[in-house]
C-alpha cells in the first residue's frame, strides 16, 4: 500500500469516479501521444511483417555469412507492405484500372461512417459518458432509414431527407434510452449501451426474418432501397464515395461549434469535467445526460444512414460491420476532439482501403492491419507507456500540496 502511495503525487485521489478519471486521462492526452501511438504501432506491425516474411526467414538462415541480405530482405518486406498499404489508400499508379488507382476515394468511403460514429462517441465522452453503444445506434439508425427507404416511395430529395431524418431518430432513440436510464436511475451507461448493442442486433435479425424481409430472397436481407432514397454518388458510378461524406464533414463542423461555441456545449463540457460543480452552478446534469445521448445516438444513426443509403443499399444484420467499435478507437485516437476524430477516421478508412491492396499486392495478411489498429488502442490506453518510450514528461496539472 505504502509503495503505491510513494510513487503517487501528493494529490488527494478523486473521491468518486476514479474509473472515469482514468478514462479521462486516456481521452484527454495531447495530439503528440496520438501520433506517436500510431508510429509505434506501425513499427511493431513492421516487425511482425518482417518476421513472417519467407524471404527474411531465408536470408536470416545465412545471417552471419551475409547480414546485409537479412536487412535488405527486412527492408523490402516492410517497405513493400506499407508501400502497398499507402498506395492502396491514396494513389496507386500501378493499378490496372484508373478507378483502381484512386484508392483515396475508397478511403473516404470507409471513413464516412467512422467520422459520424466517432463524433457520437466523442460528444458523449466530453459530457462524461462512455458511449459504447454506437454499434447498436448505427444498427437502429440503418433499420429506421431502411424501413422508410425501401418501404415507401416519395419524390426525390424529400425521400432522402426523410431517410436521413429517420436514421437520426432511430439512433437517437437507442442512445436516448441509455441517457434516460443514466439520468433517472443512475444505471451505468457502459453496461446499458453494451446490452443495447445485443438487443439491437437481435431486433434487426428478427425484423429481417419478418417485417423487413425481402420476399424474393431466402436470406434474412431487406429489399433494395428506393432509388430516391439513396445518397447520391459524388464522383459518378466509378467510385463509391457518396454524399454521406458531406453530411459527415458538416457534422464535424456542427459538433465542433456545439462543443466549443454554444451554451449547450459549455454545459456538456462542464458536466463532463466536473458534474458536481456543474450542478452547484445550476446546470441540470440529468437533462444534460439525456440530451447528449439523444444527439450522440443521432450522429451514430447518421452513420447507419451512410451505410444503408450510401454503400450497402439494403439492410442485413452485418450493416454496421465493426464501425461502432472502431468508432471508439477513432474517438480515442482523435483525443475526443471533433477534428481529431475526423482525421483519425480518415486514418482508419485508409487502413481499411489500403489493407486489401497490401494483402493482394504485397502478399501480407490483412490481419496485420487489425494488429496495428489494436496496438494503437493499446498505446493510447497506456499513455505512460508511450511517455516512457519517448521520455515525454507527464504534464503536471496540480502542484504539490503541503
Amino acid at each position: 500500500m505504502s509503495e503505491t502511495q510513494a510513487v503517487k503525487e501528493p494529490v488527494p485521489p478523486a473521491k468518486e469516479g476514479q474509473g472515469s478519471q482514468v478514462i479521462r486521462e486516456i481521452m484527454g492526452g495531447n495530439a503528440l501521444i496520438s501520433v506517436l501511438a500510431v508510429v509505434v504501432a506501425l513499427v511493431i506491425g513492421g516487425i511482425l511483417i518482417a518476421v513472417t516474411d519467407p524471404r527474411v526467414a531465408t536470408a536470416s538462415g545465412y545471417f552471419f555469412a551475409d547480414p546485409g541480405a537479412t536487412f535488405s530482405a527486412i527492408w523490402s518486406a516492410v517497405s513493400e507492405a506499407y508501400g502497398a498499404l499507402w498506395r492502396g489508400a491514396t494513389y496507386d499508379p500501378t493499378a490496372r484500372t484508373w478507378q483502381g488507382q484512386l484508392g483515396i476515394f475508397e478511403t473516404l468511403t470507409f471513413a464516412t461512417p467512422l467520422i459520424l460514429a466517432g463524433l457520437a462517441v466523442t460528444l458523449a465522452f466530453r459530457t462524461g459518458l462512455f458511449n459504447i453503444g454506437a454499434q447498436g445506434q448505427i444498427i437502429l439508425g440503418a433499420t429506421f432509414a431502411g424501413a422508410v427507404g425501401f418501404g415507401m416511395h416519395l419524390p426525390p430529395v424529400i425521400h432522402l431527407l426523410v431517410v436521413i431524418l429517420a436514421g437520426a431518430i432511430g439512433g437517437a432513440i437507442w442512445g436516448g434510452i441509455a441517457g434516460f436510464l443514466k439520468a433517472r436511475t443512475g444505471a451505468h451507461e457502459v453496461i446499458v449501451t453494451i446490452m443495447l448493442n445485443y438487443i439491437a442486433i437481435s431486433l434487426v435479425l428478427y425484423l429481417l426474418k419478418n417485417q423487413l424481409k425481402d420476399p424474393n430472397s431466402t436470406n434474412p436481407i431487406s429489399p433494395q432501397m428506393d432509388d430516391n432514397a439513396v445518397l447520391p454518388l459524388l464522383l459518378g458510378p466509378n467510385f463509391r464515395v457518396h454524399a454521406g461524406l458531406i453530411i459527415a464533414v458538416l457534422a464535424v463542423i456542427g459538433v465542433s461549434w456545439l462543443l466549443n461555441r454554444s451554451t449547450l456545449g459549455f454545459e456538456y463540457r462542464a458536466i463532463g469535467a466536473n458534474p458536481k460543480a456543474a450542478r452547484t452552478a445550476g446546470m441540470l446534469v440529468s437533462r444534460g445526460y439525456i440530451t447528449v445521448m439523444l444527439i450522440s445516438g443521432a450522429l451514430a444513426g447518421l452513420a447507419g444512414v451512410a451505410q444503408i443509403a450510401g454503400t450497402e443499399k439494403s439492410l442485413d444484420s452485418e450493416i454496421a460491420g465493426s464501425i461502432g467499435f472502431d468508432a471508439i478507437t477513432v474517438a480515442l485516437l482523435g483525443r475526443s476532439k471533433p477534428w481529431g476524430t475526423f482525421f483519425a477516421a480518415l486514418l482508419f478508412g485508409a487502413f481499411k482501403a489500403g489493407g486489401t491492396s497490401m494483402a493482394v499486392n504485397a502478399d501480407v495478411s490483412i490481419d496485420i492491419v487489425a494488429v496495428v489498429q489494436s496496438l494503437i488502442v493499446l498505446f493510447i490506453a497506456a499513455p505512460p507507456l508511450i511517455r516512457s518510450i519517448f521520455r515525454i514528461k507527464a504534464a503536471r496539472r496540480e502542484g504539490a500540496s503541503a
Partner: protein, 534 residues
C-alpha cells in the same frame, strides 16, 4: 533520540516542493513546522516517513544516516506519524486497528489481541487517554480516534511523533486536550514534530518553531514571538491579522429559515429543526466542528438536497422546492465548501469558470452561442479586480493556487446583484495573504446591504467575520450569540451545550470542571454520526 534532516530536496518534475531543507529535532522537544498550505510541510514529513524518496539530502538519526524505502522502515527507526486524515478501519475495534500490520498470532495463526489490549491499557493509563481497546472506532469521537492513532505509533515504540495538522478536526476543547497530551508525551521523552498553520496553537506548545515558505526554511522563531511576526515570516511580507470592520448596520430581516430539517436518503436528520434569520447588512457566522450539518444547511438553501422540510424565505419568496438555477436567479451567491469539487471545473479556463453560472445570460451568450470576446474581456477585468495571480485568464483553473482559485469563485459569485451571499469555508487552504483580501470582499458585500452567511470551522474566522454567531451541533442549532463572544463559550456550544447551558457552566465556580466532561462525551457521539455522512 535526535533527528536531523540535511539538505532535503524533493522535486516533482519541475516543481521543487522542498528545497535544501535543514532541520534538527532535539530529543524530547516539540518542534513546530509552520507554513502556509502548499509551503511543503507535508511533503517534507512524507519524505521523513518514507513515503517519498528525497531527490537529494539525507536523514540522520542520532547522527547516523538512515534510508527509508517505506513507512515500515521509518517505523522501525522509531518515527511515528499521525496523518491529518486518520488511517483507521472504522468497523474494527481500537485493539484491532492498533494491531493492524503488526498482528501477533497464536496457535494455527489465530489472532491474539490480548497483548495489544494490554499495551493500549498501559499507554492509555500512563498518558490519561481514556481509550477502551474494545470500542469500535466508528463509534468513538474524532478526538479519541486521534489518540488511537497516537497509540498506534507509541505501541511501535515511536520516539519521534509527527502530527500533521492534528487540530483541524477537533473542537477547541479537544484541541486543548491534545496540547496537554503533547506536553505529557514530551515529558515522557518523545520528540514531537507538530505541523500547523494555526499560530495560536504553535505558540502555545512549541519549544522551537521552524518556518517554511515555498519549500525553503526561512528561519526559526521563538514561541514568544507575536502572531503578527510569525504570520509575516510565513507569508514573506507584513500582514495585518485583524480585519478592519465597522459595526454592522442590520436592516430588515430578509432571509428567514424556519423549522428547517434536512435528511439523507437513509432518513437520518443532518439538519434538525433549525430556525434563524439574517438581516440585510449583517454577517451571520455559522460555527461548529466539521460534519455537524453546516454543509447540508447551505446546500439545502441552494436546492441541492432532496429531503428538505420547513421553510426558507428570501425576500418573501419560498426557496424550498426550487431548482438550483431558480435559487441562483433569485439572487443567491454561493461559495461551496470544496471549491475543487463543487466550485470550479478544474480543466476549464479561469474565464470559463467565471461564467459557470452566468453562461446563459446576456451578454455572455446570445441565442445559445457563447460570446467569447465578452467573456474574455470581463474575465480580464475580474482577474484584475480580484487580484487573481495567473499568467492569463485563459489558464486552466487547476493550475492556480488555492487562494487564487477561491478568488475566482468569489469573483464569480459576487459578480451578480445579490440578495443573499453564502460562503462555506471561504478561506480553507488559502494563503494568509489572500485571506485578508477575501475577508475584505465579504465585509464589503455586507456593507453593501446584503445578508451574508459564513460557515467556518475555524474559530478565528468565525470571530473575525461574524456580527452574530450561530453554533450547530449534530444538526441542531445550539443558539445564536453576539459576534464578540468568548472562545470558551463557543467551544462548549460546539461540543453540544446550548448557549444558556454553556454560559451557566462558564459562570459556575472553578473546580466544578468534572461536570463539563459528560456533555463533551456525548457530544462526540453526535459528531461521528454527522461525520459518517461525509
Amino acid at each position: 533520540m535526535k533527528l536531523e534532516l540535511k539538505g532535503i530536496t524533493k522535486s516533482f518534475g519541475a516543481l521543487v516542493a522542498n528545497d535544501h531543507i535543514d532541520l534538527v529535532v532535539a530529543s524530547g522537544e516539540i518542534h513546530s513546522l509552520l507554513g502556509e498550505n502548499g509551503a511543503g510541510k507535508s511533503t517534507l514529513m512524507n519524505v521523513l516517513y518514507g513515503l517519498y524518496e528525497p531527490t537529494a539530502g539525507e536523514i540522520l538519526i542520532d547522527d547516523k544516516p538512515v534510508k527509508f524505502s517505506g513507512p515500515a522502515d521509518a517505523m522501525a527507526a522509531g518515527i511515528g506519524m499521525v496523518h491529518q486524515h486518520f488511517m483507521l478501519v472504522p468497523v474494527f475495534t481500537v485493539a484491532e486497528n492498533v494491531a493492524l500490520g503488526g498482528e501477533s498470532t497464536g496457535f494455527a495463526g489465530i489472532l491474539d489481541l490480548e497483548d495489544t489490549r494490554r499495551k493500549i491499557r498501559e499507554i492509555s493509563a500512563r498518558f490519561g487517554f481514556h481509550v477502551d481497546p474494545d470500542a469500535l472506532v466508528e463509534e468513538i469521537p474524532v478526538g479519541v480516534q486521534q489518540r488511537v492513532e497516537i497509540i498506534k505509533a507509541l505501541v511501535r515504540n515511536a520516539k519521534i511523533l509527527i502530527l500533521d495538522e492534528p487540530s483541524a478536526v477537533l473542537t477547541p476543547q479537544e484541541t486543548d486536550e491534545l496540547m496537554d497530551i503533547m506536553a505529557q508525551l514530551k515529558a515522557g521523552g518523545t520528540s514531537i514534530v507538530f505541523i500547523s498553520h494555526k499560530l495560536r496553537e504553535v505558540k502555545a506548545v512549541s519549544d522551537t518553531i521552524t518556518v517554511i515558505r515555498r519549500g525553503k526554511v526561512v528561519g526559526s522563531a521563538d514561541p514568544d514571538a507575536s502572531t503578527t511576526e510569525l504570520a509575516s515570516m510565513m507569508v514573506g511580507r507584513s500582514v495585518s491579522l485583524t480585519l478592519e470592520k465597522a459595526d454592522a448596520q442590520p436592516g430588515e430581516e430578509t432571509f428567514k429559515v424556519t423549522g428547517l430539517t434536512v435528511m439523507n436518503d437513509a432518513g437520518q436528520r443532518l439538519v434538525d429543526d433549525v430556525t434563524f434569520a439574517v438581516a440585510d447588512g449583517e454577517i451571520l457566522a455559522v460555527a461548529g466542528v466539521q460534519g455537524n450539518g453546516q454543509t447540508e444547511l447551505t446546500e439545502a438553501v441552494l436546492g441541492l438536497h432532496k429531503h428538505v422540510q420547513g421553510s426558507i424565505m428570501l425576500d418573501g419568496k419560498e426557496l424550498v422546492g426550487r431548482s438550483v438555477r431558480q435559487v441562483l436567479d433569485a439572487g443567491v451567491g454561493f461559495v461551496p465548501e470544496d471549491r475543487q469539487d463543487d466550485g470550479l471545473v478544474g480543466e476549464f479556463s479561469i474565464a470559463e469558470n467565471l461564467v459557470l453560472d452566468l453562461y446563459t445570460k446576456e451578454p455572455y451568450s446570445r441565442f445559445g452561442a457563447m460570446n467569447r470576446a465578452v467573456i474574455a474581456k470581463s474575465a480580464q477585468e475580474k482577474v484584475a479586480e480580484f487580484d487573481v495571480r495567473a499568467q492569463s485568464a485563459q489558464d486552466a483553473a487547476d493550475t492556480l493556487s488555492g487562494g487564487n482559485q477561491q478568488k475566482v469563485v468569489l469573483a464569480r459569485e459576487l459578480a451578480r446583484p445579490l440578495k443573499l451571499f453564502i460562503a462555506s469555508q471561504p478561506t480553507r487552504g488559502v494563503d494568509v495573504g489572500s485571506i485578508e483580501f477575501l475577508h475584505k470582499r465579504i465585509v464589503a458585500e455586507r456593507d453593501a446591504g446584503t445578508p451574508v452567511i459564513i460557515v467556518s470551522t475555524e474559530l478565528d474566522e468565525v470571530l473575525e467575520l461574524g456580527d452574530r454567531i450561530a453554533v450547530l451541533f449534530a444538526g441542531r442549532l445550539m443558539g445564536i450569540v453576539p459576534g464578540k463572544s468568548s472562545r470558551e463559550l463557543l467551544g462548549l456550544m460546539m461540543a453540544g451545550l446550548t448557549a444558556e447551558e454553556a454560559q451557566a457552566q462558564l459562570d459556575a465556580p472553578v473546580g466544578d470542571s468534572t461536570a463539563g466532561d459528560a456533555p463533551a462525551g456525548d457530544s462526540t457521539a453526535g459528531n461521528t454520526e454527522g461525520g459518517a455522512h461525509e
